[in-house]
Structures are given as structure tokens and as C-alpha cells.
């Protein structure tokens, strides 16, 4: 039983109620994983609605999905997967104490997220011009099915909610950049980078499900 040589300095990032940095890091990471489970159930409701209506109107889903632009959908998929790579590289940079690399990788991720949103914006505008609005405002005549609106209601809800998650992700990463520039992060403390990365991967994974379910079924 050796006495602690001196009272150890508690690092500044360590909150008062944790014993050590490891406990704080593990808790934060676990908290994020549990939160991601809630996100999956949140989107799960929409996926359930999708399953129900697709089994009711299978032919409608095939017809309506031709209205979606597979090319730009595929581009967006590539953009998001790329951003997942750069966010992973950002975490790696933080682990290696390369703060400059961390900031650069975060900026690349943010720009890719913007590219995604811009493409999404043009996709939406293009549909609005045709009169493809959700639900009762739907006026497009190009699909020979009287319930065509229901596909687009689901489309707008799913991609819209996903878009909101992308915007939140952009906000989080800008916040990370600000903190990184202040010198908060180092290889000893990069918890927020790690858990934002986890969140960003989930946003990516949801899109990877949305893309084939909405764009590729025809």
C-alpha cells in the first residue's frame, strides 16, 4: 500500500463527479450509443410506416420512385460516405494529437455535409416545381395512381428528418472546430470529437438505408 506521492492534479476537462478521465470518456461514449439507439427507434417509426404503405401500394412505390433522381441520390450517397471517412480521420488526428489535421478534416466534413444539403435542396425545388408536395397539397399529375401523395409524404418526412439531422451535425462540427482552435482537444481529451463522430456515422447509415428504399426500388 503506497501512499499517493502527491495529490494528483485533476486535468481541467475532468468533471467533478468522475473518478478519472477514463470513466468520463467511457460514460460519454456509452451515453452517445444509447442516444443513437433512440435515434434508430425514432426513424424506426417512419420505416414502419414505409413498410406498411409499401405492402399496401406496392405498384405505387415502384412508379413514384422513378420520379426521384437516382444519379443525384447516388452522388449524395458518395458524398456522405466520404464525409464519414473524413470524420473518422478527424478522430484519428485527435488521437495522434495533430490538432491541425483535426481542424482540416472537420472542415472537409462540414463542406461535404453542405454539398449534401445543396443537392437535397435542388432535388426538393425540382419536385416542388412539378407540384409534388406532401399530402393534401400534392398536385402533380404525372403518376397514374390516386394515392401517389402518400409516397411523397413518406419521402418528405424521411429525407426531411434526415436533413435536419445533417444540419444539427454541421452545427456540432462547427462547434468542434471552434473548440479545437481554442486548444481544448488533445490526445488526452477528445471525447466530443469521438461522440460527434459516432453521431455522424449514424446520420450516414440512415441515409444508406433511405437511398435504396426510396430511389432504387424501380
Amino acid at each position: 500500500m503506497s501512499e499517493p506521492s502527491a495529490v494528483e492534479e485533476r486535468p481541467s476537462h475532468l468533471q467533478h463527479h468522475f473518478v478519472d478521465s477514463d470513466q468520463q470518456f467511457d460514460s460519454a461514449k456509452m451515453g452517445m450509443w444509447v442516444f443513437l439507439v433512440t435515434e434508430i427507434l425514432f426513424f424506426g417509426g417512419l420505416f414502419a410506416a414505409y413498410i406498411v404503405y409499401r405492402s399496401w401500394y406496392p405498384e405505387l412505390f415502384l412508379m413514384a420512385s422513378t420520379e426521384l433522381d437516382t444519379f443525384w441520390g447516388a452522388v449524395n450517397t458518395a458524398v456522405l460516405i466520404g464525409s464519414s471517412l473524413t470524420v473518422a480521420m478527424a478522430i484519428r488526428s485527435a488521437q495522434l494529437n495533430q490538432i491541425k489535421g483535426l481542424i482540416i478534416n472537420l472542415w472537409i466534413t462540414i463542406s461535404l455535409a453542405f454539398v449534401f444539403m445543396v443537392i437535397k435542396y435542388f432535388e426538393y425545388i425540382h419536385k416542388f416545381e412539378k407540384g409534388i408536395f406532401p399530402g393534401e397539397y400534392y398536385t402533380y399529375e404525372g403518376i397514374a395512381h390516386e394515392k401517389a401523395n402518400i409516397f411523397f409524404s413518406i419521402y418528405y418526412m424521411m429525407t426531411g428528418l434526415h436533413g435536419i439531422h445533417v444540419i444539427i451535425g454541421i452545427g456540432l462540427m462547427i462547434w468542434l472546430v471552434v473548440k479545437a482552435k481554442k486548444g481544448v482537444f488533445s490526445s488526452k481529451y477528445y471525447t466530443p470529437v469521438e461522440i460527434t463522430g459516432l453521431y455522424w456515422h449514424l446520420v450516414d447509415v440512415i441515409w444508406i438505408f433511405l437511398f435504396p428504399l426510396l430511389y432504387l426500388i424501380d
Binding site: R10, H17, Q23, F42
Partner: protein, 581 residues
């Protein structure tokens, strides 16, 4: 200071034993005072008290609304309010009691206060999220208030489509309020799960975890898994009203029954969010006041998880008459019966705990007894409603109303009061008047049965729920029910009076007024700002009533901050303990 790592998961701790200071001068209530400090506090105990004050207010509001309903129902026709006002009143009564009182009552109010204390932690894992959850709850409440004063809501607390998509009033505001409220519930759930996993004190292994924490753990799992589905449901309903997306609108190809599936996929598990933490409190109270080791520790612990699991598979029993396939009905009916098994296991284990115990009928125990009596009735009538043929007859009658009040009020609210009386000395360091506490409890018990027993009879004779008018033959039942409601109200007023009196003039509470073996009673009353002056080491189980009280001084691992010799403990002893990570 934990030292020398002996073989892997075992580590040696040097432990001193200390007695908690009696009647401390400095504790969490008188350090960091002032409005601003309270508003921005991240201390779980203060956040718990702020939640407690909020749920108390909502309980009062919801209760007054209930009295309005009961008063209106004194006569078969209009008594003093109009039918559409009546519809708004019962909607608000349900929504407020469920979303603003029952769901946060035990987890967010009592749970927040007691969970880190029972874990031997300084706080929950994410104190700032904890505070955020309180403010999110407040914002949700503000939205609901706006909804009430800008048109009201008359859909019933279930917001069934298509009516809720078309009716006037401010359904949108109300559903947004509940959407926001859901986040507060999710944050509490995430916080509790992580805290229980990561913040247990040295020596507090899973098989020593207090049953209250097993119950809160199961509850948090349900909160985390079910609440997001409610969120998407009310979001879709809001979009239905704003954009007319038509997912629940048959005219646009949607399906209103899908709404019911979504809604009950959350709201049935939500029933267990409300009741399971109550089970946790009852386990603590019964063991403490029977002076006996809890009987069937693992059976009680795992049955909480079993209820959480099965609770996700039974939502269809709310829709037996909504046109489900008869196969689905049979499956849901069967699964509903299964819930009775873990629940029964709990009841029998509690009874076995009391058997040959030296039972002390203090107020918390009295409430626990009321719980056992009323909850058993509520549970059995639930099994009846779960059987298909009976449910067709009883669906949407007062029988259902009586059933869920026996479970929710007779079960959960009584458990909440058991917990409130049990932990009151720890919260405020004051004792309440025991005699008046018992009087209030008996009054509430009598009033409760007077209110809801007649409703079983009415319901089985065909009195439909939510109706403004009724036929004359039901009048005596309704009048008895109303009289009972007022009796209960008197009981609650007495309770409010002696609790407030205890805050002002109550006797100071010792650290462990009940002679409990549980960890939260081994620190001072009220607790210090960071719960324990030293990191506690858990040597004995919290139900070890076969060991003498003198062994229940807190084991303390020397912490960084304190000079080693300041306190006069016994000689340090070495104990071996599993690591908690």
C-alpha cells in the same frame, strides 16, 4: 486511494469505517443557495427537488381537473359546465396526469434524488444534460399551457386520428409540447442507464445493486426505447395538421389505425415507465420496515426487466375492437396474460419478505400496504380486460377507467407517496408528523376505493367512459364516486399540510431514522453537497438485515482531497472487492 492491482478484476482497497455525522451544519440545501444557483445547479438532488415541486404542482392541477369532472357527473345531465368544456377538462386531466405527473414523478423526481446516493456516486453521469432535461420539461409544460389557453384540446389524452387531425382547438401546440417533453424523458433515461453502468461505487456489484435501481434501470430502458416512437408519432400528427401529409388520413390513402399502433407502441410501455419504478420503491420500503432481507432478490430484479421486455409486445390489446385480425388479437391477448407472471412474482416475493418480519407500520410502509392491496385489484382487472371476449363487453367503459386508476393511482401514486415519505428525511433533514401521515393515508385509501369501486360496477353494466350524460340508473354510483373523490382530496390536503409543516417546524431527522441498511442512509440527512465526503466502499448488501446495525458504518476509501488523519476512524482494514468498471 485504491492501490496495488492484485489479479485482474480483483483489487485491494484500504478502507476505513466512519459513522455519518448527525445533524450536519452544512449540507446540499444550505450550500450554494440563492435563486440563480438553484436555476443553474447541476446537483442531481436539487434538480430532483425542482422536479418534485413541478410534479406536485401538476398533481394539484390534474387533481382539481378530476374534481371538476366528478362534480359535473353528479347529475345525469348538465350540472355546471358545458359538454365541450367537459371534453377539454377530461383531456387535460389525462394528459397532465400522465405526461406531466406520472412519467416524471418517480424517475425524474425521486429517482434523480436517490439514484446517485444509492450508487455511492457524486452525481449522475451527465449533470448538465440532467439540468437540460428539467428545462426541456418546463418548455414542454409551457407549450401545453399555451395550448390550454388558445383553444384547448378535446381529443382525450390519446389524440386519436382522424378526430385529432380535424377538431378545432390547439392540438398542434399540445402535441408539440408532448414531443418536447419526450426529449426530457429520453435524456433522463440515457443518463440513468449510463450512470448505473459506469458510476457504481467500489464494491457495488450488479448482485448488490439495490432493487430500486434495478427498477429504475428497467424503466430507463423503456424510456429510451419507447419514447422516440411517441416522438415520431406526435411529429407525424403535427405534420398532419400543418402540411396535411395524410399518413393517418384515409382520404389521402393513409390509415388511422396505424396511428393507434404507433401511439400504443409507446403508450403501453409508458404504462410500465409509470409503474415499474414504483415496484422499486416498494421493494426498498417493505424490506426496510419488515427488518428482513428481501426475499427473492434476483426474482424481483429480473422480473422488472421481464416486465420491460414483455411490455413492448402487448400494445395491440388496446385495439381489440379497432378491426385487428383475430389472429393478432389472440396473440396480443396471450402476451398480455404473460405480463401477469413477473408481476405476480414480485407480489409474492414482497409478501414472503414480510412473512415473519418485524413489521413496523410507519407511514411509508402503510402506503406500501395500500399499494399492495390496490395494485393487486388493478392487476387482476387488467388480466380480465386482456381476455378477448370480456374486453369486447368492457371496452371503453368505466371498468377500464377504474382498472387503470387502480393501477396508476392505487399503484403508482401510492408507491410515489411511499417513496416520498420514506426519503423525506433524507431530502430535507426533517421528520413529518407520523400520526397525521397515517390519518391522511387511511383517508386516501377509503376515498380511493369509494371513487373507483363503483366505477367497476357501472362499467360492467355498460356505462361508457368519457360521456357527458348518462342514464339515471347510474346516478347513485356516480354520486358515491364523486363523494369518494372529495374524501381523497381532503386526505391530500392533510398530507400537504403536514409536509409543509415539517419543512417549517419539523423535528430534525437523524441520518438513518428507519434503521435501514441501504447506502443512502449511511450518509448524513440531508446529504452533503457531493453526497459522500469520501468515496464509499460497499461491503455489505443493502438488505443485509441479518447483520447487526453496528456493521453498517460506511466503508470509506480514502479520497484525494482529504488529509488522511483528519477523521477518527477505526484502524484501516483491507477488503477485496471486484472492480466496478
Amino acid at each position: 486511494m485504491p492501490t496495488s492491482e492484485t489479479p485482474k478484476s480483483i483489487r485491494k482497497l484500504q478502507v476505513k469505517r466512519f459513522k455519518p455525522e448527525e445533524y450536519p451544519k452544512k449540507h446540499y440545501l444550505n450550500s450554494e443557495t440563492g435563486i440563480w444557483n438553484w436555476m443553474t445547479t447541476v446537483d442531481h438532488k436539487k434538480i430532483g427537488l425542482m422536479y418534485l415541486a413541478s410534479v406536485a404542482i401538476f398533481f394539484l392541477v390534474g387533481g382539481l381537473l378530476a374534481l371538476l369532472i366528478r362534480t359535473e357527473l353528479l347529475t345525469p345531465a348538465r350540472t355546471f359546465i358545458d359538454a365541450d368544456v367537459y371534453n377539454q377538462v377530461f383531456t387535460l386531466h389525462g394528459a397532465i396526469m400522465i405526461f406531466f405527473f406520472l412519467i416524471p414523478s418517480v424517475p425524474a423526481a425521486l429517482g434523480n434524488f436517490i439514484l446517485p446516493l444509492q450508487l455511492g456516486a457524486k452525481d449522475v453521469a451527465f449533470p448538465r444534460l440532467n439540468l437540460a432535461s428539467f428545462y426541456i420539461y418546463t418548455i414542454g409544460a409551457i407549450f401545453t399551457l399555451i395550448a390550454i389557453f388558445t383553444g384547448g384540446v378535446d381529443t382525450g389524452w390519446t389524440f386519436y386520428t382522424p378526430y385529432s387531425a380535424q377538431t378545432g382547438g390547439n392540438v398542434l401546440m399540445m402535441t408539440l409540447g408532448i414531443f418536447i417533453l419526450g426529449f426530457s424523458s429520453i435524456l433522463t433515461g440515457v443518463n440513468f442507464i449510463v450512470t448505473i453502468h459506469k458510476m457504481r461505487a467500489p464494491g457495488l456489484t450488479w448482485n448488490k445493486l439495490p432493487l430500486n435501481l434495478w427498477a429504475l434501470y428497467a424503466t430507463s430502458l423503456i424510456q429510451v426505447l419507447a419514447t422516440p416512437v411517441l416522438a415520431i408519432t406526435v411529429l407525424l400528427l403535427s405534420m398532419e395538421r400543418v402540411l396535411g401529409i395524410g399518413i393517418f388520413d384515409p382520404a389521402l390513402g393513409g390509415d388511422p389505425v396505424l396511428y393507434q399502433h404507433f401511439f400504443w407502441f409507446y403508450s403501453h410501455p409508458a404504462v410500465y415507465i409509470m409503474i415499474v419504478p414504483g415496484f422499486g420503491i416498494i421493494s426498498e420500503v417493505i424490506s426496510t420496515f419488515s427488518r428482513k432481507t428481501i426475499f427473492g432478490y434476483w426474482a424481483i430484479a429480473l422480473s422488472s426487466l421481464a416486465i420491460a421486455f414483455i411490455g413492448f409486445l402487448v400494445w395491440g390489446h388496446h385495439m381489440f375492437t379497432a378491426g385487428q385480425s383475430s389472429l393478432a388479437n389472440m396473440v396480443f391477448s396471450f402476451l398480455t396474460f404473460l405480463v401477469g407472471i413477473p408481476t405476480g412474482i414480485k407480489i409474492f416475493n414482497w409478501l414472503a419478505t414480510m412473512y415473519k418480519g418485524s413489521i413496523d407500520m410507519k407511514a411509508p410502509m402503510l402506503y406500501a400496504m395500500v399499494f399492495l392491496f390496490l395494485f393487486t385489484i388493478g392487476g387482476f382487472t387488467g388480466i380480465m380486460l386482456g381476455s378477448l371476449a370480456v374486453d369486447i363487453h368492457l371496452h371503453d367503459t368505466y371498468y377500464v377507467v377504474a382498472h387503470f386508476h387502480y393501477v396508476m393511482m392505487g399503484g403508482m401514486v401510492m408507491a410515489f407517496f411511499a417513496g416520498l415519505h420514506y426519503w423525506w428525511p433524507k431530502m430535507f433533514g426533517k421528520m413529518y408528523n407520523e400520526l397525521w401521515a397515517r390519518v391522511a393515508c387511511v383517508l386516501v385509501f377509503i376515498g380511493f376505493n369509494m371513487t373507483f369501486l363503483p366505477q367497476f360496477v357501472m362499467g360492467s353494466q355498460g356505462m361508457p367512459r368519457r360521456y357527458f350524460n348518462y342514464i339515471d340508473q347510474f346516478q347513485p354510483f356516480h354520486q358515491l364516486s364523486t363523494l369518494g373523490a372529495y374524501t381523497m382530496f381532503v386526505g391530500f390536503l392533510i398530507m400537504a399540510a403536514y409536509l409543509i409543516h415539517s419543512l417549517v417546524k419539523g423535528k430534525e431527522a437523524p441520518a438513518n431514522p428507519w434503521g435501514s441498511r441501504a447506502l443512502e442512509w449511511q450518509t448524513t440527512s440531508p446529504a452533503p453537497l457531493h453526497n459522500f465526503d469520501h468515496t464509499p466502499v460497499i461491503i455489505n448488501g443493502s438488505y443485509d438485515y441479518h447483520k447487526p446495525m453496528s456493521e453498517f458504518q460506511l466503508g470509506i476509501a480514502d479520497s484525494h482531497h482529504d488529509p488522511l488523519d483528519e477523521h477518527h476512524g477505526d484502524q484501516p482494514v483491507d477488503i477485496q472487492t471486484e472492480t466496478t468498471a
